[in-house]
Assembly symmetry: C3
Homo-oligomer: 340 residues x 3
């Protein structure tokens, strides 16, 4: 299965101008260094500019006002990286699967699956749930009762939605991810932990993508809420009653504890850990590995932790960290002596 596009076709798709041979065609995307004449490539950062001297790419996407020193078949756009993103879908090779319900799927009689939806082998759809137009459930997906999967969603193999989970339209969820598992709520007693049954659901907006092996818990009383356009990577933990504002991006291995509210258009690097019951403002950015133990009310860029070092140097410094307050006292003593 080969996909072929000409320079003119790609420029038209982007609504962009081009220069060069309108009929030259490409069958894939490659970076500038590896591209052959049958590849499209793009320059998205100055640091790769020198590859333009030698690239074999059949077509290159360039910034509008960029003047290459060689003749290149090129598409001229405001944002080459975005143009690459928009073109990437054209070369995406996922095997199309037939519409309809695979005979091995188990669908509750009270569920409704749109005729243009696809339910793959060994999927299970619970009572009163709806799978709307154009959505695809790949193999082994389990949907609990009273769920709503919006239009044109894609749930990869072995995704699980518990009961009472609502997805907007154009939501993508990757394999082994779980949405709607019980929040970690227990009342302590002398006889042990007493489970607090989690009565809320999960509400996920439109155009959300969630990576693989990620957990999003249902709310204790109200819903856990993921806003429109949020993107979440693999191995992420989102606890009960968390609310995440529109357009926020959450990288791999992040964990957000219960009842925390995250603003819109935030970004979190990998391994960010956010305590429960906090409020994080819009446009807050956390470096990877930041441990957040207080609310952040001002937009900005935040971090915690220490930097990597060779282990001998690090150990000496780490030991000194453990005595730091005492050493500060000794600085104070010196200052007093100095003043007297």
């Amino acid at each position: 299965m080969t996909t072929t596009y000409t320079l003119k076709q790609l420029a038209d798709y982007l609504g962009a101008h081009f220069e060069g041979d309108a009929e030259i065609s490409v069958t894939g995307i490659a970076n500038l260094a590896k591209a052959t004449v049958s590849d499209l490539s793009f320059l998205s950062s100055k640091q790769y500019e020198h590859f333009l001297e030698t690239t074999q790419a059949g077509i290159v996407i360039l910034q509008k006002d960029f003047e290459p020193t060689r003749a290149l078949n090129r598409i001229l756009v405001d944002d080459p990286y975005l143009a690459y993103a928009r073109i990437s879908v054209l070369f995406c090779q996922r095997i199309s699967v037939p519409q309809g319900i695979h005979p091995s799927a188990v669908i509750d009689p009270s569920a409704r699956v749109a005729s243009t939806a696809m339910v793959g082998p060994n999927c299970v759809v619970g009572a009163h749930s709806v799978i709307d137009d154009g959505s695809e459930l790949l193999a082994g997906v389990v949907i609990g009762a009273h769920c709503h999967v919006g239009k044109n969603c894609l749930l990869h193999a072995n995704v699980v939605l518990y009961h009472g989970v609502t997805l907007g339209n154009q939501v993508i969820i990757h394999s082994s991810t779980v949405v709607g598992s019980d929040g970690f709520g227990f009342a302590p007693t002398r006889a042990g932990w007493v489970k607090i049954h989690q009565l809320g659901g999960v509400s996920i907006g439109n155009n959300v993508e969630i990576g693989s092996c990620t957990s999003i818990d249902r709310g204790a009383i109200d819903d856990t809420i993921i806003g429109d356009g949020v993107i979440i990577d693999n191995q992420v933990h989102i606890a009960h009653n968390v609310k995440i504002g529109k357009g926020t991006a959450i990288a791999g291995c992040v964990g957000i504890a219960g009842s925390t509210t995250i603003g819109a258009n935030c970004t979190m690097g990998g391994f960010v850990a956010i305590n429960g019951h906090l409020e994080i403002a819009d446009n807050v950015h956390f470096n990877g590995g930041t441990i957040v133990t207080k609310s952040i009310s001002e937009a900005g860029h935040y971090s915690s932790g220490t930097l990597v070092q060779d282990v001998k140097t690090w150990r000496r410094n780490a030991v000194r960290f453990g005595q730091l307050d005492q050493w500060i006292d000794r600085i104070k003593t010196l200052e007093q002596a100095d003043r007297s």
Copy 2:
């Protein structure tokens, strides 16, 4: 499906006194701020006390000696949060599934499934395994050979137990969690890593709850052991030969390396990382994000790491951390000069 309880019914269920209209009824639980007349609510913390002035809740659970300034239909208990936990189960809406074995399930002829147990669509139960009275395996659960699932357990969709895993009674395991995968044991050789086959199993006590997307490895020789009443959140990693004492609570994204023993009634915040071959005493509490590289023999509260700051301030401090031992030497030099 609506569940309705009167004030008298709820008070009787809790074995508690009440004041107000015995016949007023509620159909759900809500927090004080959002509750309507058909909701039960509760006051579990002084910080929400002001909501009592305005709450519309039909019934409120209050601490015994608390005197509200308004007439409220109320239930009087020692611990309102615990009372809420105990009542939460009454309003839990999980669709009940029929007892018995779904026709799509694959059960080894040598396995024994109690007549009061439920095995859902596409489940697999291996040779010589037992699913005891009242236990439920939701869709896609895979149970290896020689497992024992005790009474009234609930295994959510796509849980996997490898062979030789034993669960006590009233164990809940959430979706995509894996119990009994091989421990990470390899002998180094010049030709590469040689796998140490993991011959132990996993033994899980009574009244244990385990979140979604969590891994608990089987032991190398002896079993990995999770004590009675332990609660474990999502995205947790428990390595081979770990032993966890009764009633310990482990929050999301925690990792415990091989052969470490954790005492009873410990608590771990999210992202706690514990090295292998350590001993942690009873009643030890770790802040979220603590990296534990030594045994802890005394009960208490422990932590590591640094606090979140704006990135510019943080970077300056982090650079100084990397020079800390040298600066301490300079303090010592100043002290010597000061003394001379």
Copy 3:
């Protein structure tokens, strides 16, 4: 099912000398303290040497030049830990499953499953994929289109391979692990994130083992590559375009961000977090919890972070860390005063 081996059989299997009763037999492996006369044991570390005085083990594996003070049935080898690893497979009790394809499996007509391979209940194998000789897919495994599973691989229950994933020979993947999910690639625009479709695949070498609940993303353009002999634990996140050199060992809860290249024979403790677009040399070792934000060009041992302390002491030190650069300035002021 009991497995029995005599001293002579085990020594022959290892190609090693033995002393004692050639016909004494054992049925399992135990550590020195717990072993009974029907167990094999081994001494791999001086710290356990005193157990030799009292062990009941029927056979003990000892270092060649080690002279026990008691008569023991023993096997003499260069490396007792390696000998234990090699013998562990003999006592591994995994129930053998029949060759062939379970009737509930769904195999695309264009896929090829070797006659000596095993495909378990509810597995799905996509179009044009190959399952080669001797490989086993346990229950619920989903293989996308255009995958190649090499010889003698073992994919545990509910593993998912997306399309275009290639495994070498003797690859083991544990349950709920996902290989080939989309990399976290999006172009930012004012209207939100635009998905970059991930056109690469994943290529995994020979003799690789991957733990449970781990995610390995497909490449954006080229493949994500895992070299021969790499071992990866549970709950690991490997992002798109990462390359991992031969023989590298990655412990639980590690995350490696996109386009980073890791050398050969590296080791990472748990919770190591490595930024994107970095180069890590061969033979680099990271302590658990290290956050790596720069490339490492020299072999060696690296770390970051601080050490665990009681929370009161820690908090004082952590507050001082947040002021560290200012205190360093005060040291400088003292030094200047001292010099003047």
